[in-house]
């Protein structure tokens, strides 16, 4: 086994960190969460120029065929910088949906995404379906769509939505694409936990021509599931990045904050808390390495077990690291003015999208035989 990064991977990770240190900061983050604009044109262009838009996609589709691990380096750097630039939500997720649909029409849309010509968001979840994508009340009937999708990232700033729905006639799932400006598409949005914006999209007698239907049947479900699985690993990477920053900032703080005439890092209880965070971070990072590798295998049960075990683990351990970071900071940790509390929100946000701990525990159990019934008991 070898856990070393190749020289290309080191360069990729370093360049992502360098870009972020030069182009992102806590002040920019604060401006961003206070505004309605999440897709900053200048930074969007720079990320395009860095090749990030093409990295996750195959060369046939005009991408750079980066591995899941390669892309995780970017997500991790974004997390470490507390960046909510929606690279994962508005590039990788819709792009992977299009790539996994794998049709000439979808490929043509993907090309526009990779080239930065058009922007997209994925409309996958219904408000009353928890994390189950299979359940949707968005219905296509006689060429007309009605229904509502929720948790659509930055809907107010993108050109197109890729939506998971079903046909009225035979319940077949479909994925269709529609311009946000189209008549029959309405949305409302609000700020969500990490400071980005998320929308509720209502389709009100939207007329859908056949060329907008990208995929029908089990292929649609498979494409949506694979895309979500893919970005789930990236969220885990962002959680590790954010937790690394939160831990390091807390360690530094413990070395300078004085109480009782000495720095608080000299107290054994604080030392042990910090060691717990440090050790837990190493364990969580090992799970990320595992998931970037095993999450990319062909066998669906194996890849989903790997991804779910990683997310479930991080939802426990990384969240605990973020909580402890606040505790060690004391009062200043719960204020808006210090970044620690924002890292906590950022991590909590990630722990709740595309499946929380319970969801992923259940899925892990389904994929590893822990839900199998025991029929014959062999009693001695």
């Amino acid at each position: 086994m070898d856990f070393n990064l190749s020289s290309e991977q080191k360069m990729l990770g370093d360049s992502a960190k360098r870009y972020l240190s030069q182009n992102y900061s806590f002040d920019i983050y604060l401006d961003q969460i206070g505004s309605n604009m999440q897709i900053n044109p200048e930074r969007w262009q720079k990320m395009l120029d860095l090749g990030w838009f093409g990295l996750p996609f195959s060369e046939e589709n005009g991408g750079f065929s980066g591995s899941l691990f390669d892309v995780s380096l970017i997500a991790r750097a974004l997390g470490e910088a507390l960046s909510i630039d929606p690279y994962v939500d508005n590039i990788v997720l819709p792009g992977k949906l299009l790539e996994f649909i794998s049709s000439p029409t979808a490929d043509a849309w993907l090309k526009k995404l990779i080239d930065g010509e058009r922007t997209f968001s994925a409309a996958i979840y219904d408000v009353d379906s928890h994390y189950d994508i299979n359940h949707t009340n968005v219905i296509l009937e006689d060429g007309v769509v009605n229904g509502q999708k929720s948790f659509v990232s930055n809907v107010g700033e993108v050109d197109y939505l890729i939506c998971y729905a079903r046909e009225a006639s035979d319940e077949q799932p479909i994925l269709f694409i529609v311009a946000v400006e189209e008549e029959g598409v309405e949305y409302k949005d609000c700020r969500v936990l990490n400071g980005s914006r998320s929308g509720v999209v209502t389709f009100n007698n939207l007329e859908l021509t056949n060329d907008k239907i990208l995929c029908v049947g089990s292929d649609a479900t498979a494409a949506a599931q694979r895309a979500i699985d893919y970005v789930t690993v990236l969220e885990c990477a962002a959680m590790i990045g954010a937790a690394t920053a939160a831990y390091e900032k807390t360690l530094e703080y413990a070395k300078i904050r004085k109480q009782f005439g000495t720095h608080i890092g000299s107290f054994q209880v604080i030392q042990h808390y910090l060691v717990d965070m440090f050790v837990e971070l190493q364990q969580a990072e090992s799970m990320l390495f595992m998931a970037t590798d095993k999450g990319a295998v062909k066998d669906v049960a194996e890849s989903q077990a790997a991804i779910s075990s990683c997310k479930a683990y991080l939802c426990k351990s990384v969240v605990a690291i973020a909580q402890q970071a606040i505790q060690i900071h004391g009062g200043i940790g719960v204020t808006e003015e210090l970044d620690i509390g924002h890292y906590f929100r950022f991590i909590t946000h990630l722990s709740l999208i595309h499946g929380d701990r319970d969801f992923h525990m259940s899925r892990y159990m389904k994929r590893t035989g822990l839900e199998d019934k025991i029929c014959a008991v062999n009693m001695a």
């Binding site: 070898d2 190749s6 991977q9 050790v279 364990q283 390495f289 075990s309 159990m365 025991i374």
Partner: protein
């Protein structure tokens, strides 16, 4: 990044599997799979079987009689060994005093003691802790005063596992009480048959006898039994703490314990079904499996960096802490999921399920694992100082 075993390693894995399937004695296998402790005869029998194959001192280089395996091979062997229902080996000879001898001792000492360790013929125990020197080990008082060509040893050691089995004990003794406490300590090898040594049993809460007090009353030890120079004892003790961390997490045996738990749940009747039908029990298994995976991959990172000749990364420092915590959690889960079946203590025939019946003693035994080898609190102090700069 490459997280697969190579073809050569898979080949090695097969060889190990096939040797184990032919060479683990049935009586040893049965007891181990039930989670029972082996007596001296069986424990030594197994170690001698490994010794004659050349697979006992797995961390040793070839020149001293080890198999010359790298860390990946050692890891594979350990996993297959646990899977085959074979017990672990006593660490005092092969993992502790052996590496001290081939790193610090002179040729004569190597020739004298290493062969008995490699073959499994000589059993060792560790004389470190004293009644007033536990976590504060450097405060130890057992003295060794030089008289001619002998040291006269006086004092008391405690928590000495397998002292009642051992032929030899390696001791930290105070040879100089006038210098800083760490600098006055020396590393001495003592024959347990020497007059003046008395071993008294300590019975632990698992109902077994592993631990002892060892009293030294004017015990005469030849000076050629000193390893290194006088005053080097503390350096040697610290060396042992950093030596070979690739199996310290106990991944192989914990993995096997979880398998045992699953087997027990599936084979224990409960109402009209089995314990496995309880979704809370299976959720608990899932949580343990995932916690184990995090430990396992952290361990893989340590194994890989050892084999790539890299210095150990920070990920290896928490292995003992997380490994022992998980051993306790798994053991606790077995006891709690067995419920009333875990109350059985000395039954010869199964009450419901022997795996649950036997689990309680192990649960009691494993309370010690976060204490021995340096408590987890001491481990955290060390990490805080060495790695976090606190």
């Amino acid at each position: 990044m490459n997280l697969e075993f190579s073809d050569t390693e898979k080949e090695f894995q097969k060889d190990v599997q096939s040797w184990l399937s032919d060479n683990v004695p049935a009586d040893i296998q049965e007891k181990t799979q039930n989670g029972e402790m082996l007596d001296k005869t069986l424990q030594q029998k197994w170690e001698q079987i490994l010794g004659s194959k050349g697979w006992l001192a797995t961390t040793w280089p070839k020149q001293y009689g080890g198999p010359g395996w790298n860390a990946t091979q050692r890891y594979i062997f350990d996993v297959e060994r646990a899977k085959a229902g074979a017990p672990g080996t006593s660490p005092f000879g092969v993992s502790m005093v052996g590496p001290v001898i081939f790193n610090f001792a002179n040729q004569e000492q190597k020739d004298r003691w290493l062969p008995g360790i490699v073959s499994g013929d000589t059993l060792w125990c560790q004389g470190y802790s004293e009644p007033n020197a536990g976590s504060d080990l450097a405060s130890l008082k057992t003295s060794a005063k030089k008289e001619g060509d002998e040291y006269i040893v006086n004092g008391q050691k405690i928590w000495t596992t397998q002292a009642h089995w051992a032929d030899m004990i390696f001791c930290l003794v105070r040879t100089d009480s006038t210098v800083k406490k760490q600098q006055g300590i020396s590393f001495l090898l003592i024959d347990m048959n020497t007059p003046g040594i008395e071993v008294r049993a300590i019975h632990s809460i698992d109902g077994h006898h592993h631990l002892n007090e060892v009293y030294f009353n004017d015990v005469r030890v030849p000076v050629e039994n000193l390893v290194g120079q006088e005053g080097m004892g503390w350096t040697i003790a610290k060396f042992l703490l950093t030596h070979e961390r690739t199996t310290i997490a106990g991944v192989a045996d914990t993995k096997q314990e979880i398998e045992r738990l699953k087997h027990a749940l599936k084979n224990t009747r409960s109402g009209s079904g089995v314990r496995w039908d309880d979704p809370q029990a299976r959720r608990r298994v899932a949580e343990l499996e995932i916690d184990l995976m995090a430990l396992e991959y952290t361990n893989f990172r340590t194994v890989a960096s050892t084999d790539n000749g890299n210095p150990l990364g920070p990920e290896s420092s928490g292995l003992k802490i997380k490994g022992t915590e998980l051993q306790q959690q798994v053991s606790q889960a077995i006891v709690e999921l067995g419920g009333p079946l875990s109350l059985a203590w000395d039954n010869k025939e199964a009450i419901g399920n022997m795996e649950f019946n036997k689990a309680t003693r192990r649960y009691n035994f494993l309370r010690a694992c976060t204490i021995y080898g340096g408590t987890n609190e001491i481990q955290k102090n060390v990490i805080a100082k060495m790695l976090l700069g606190l």
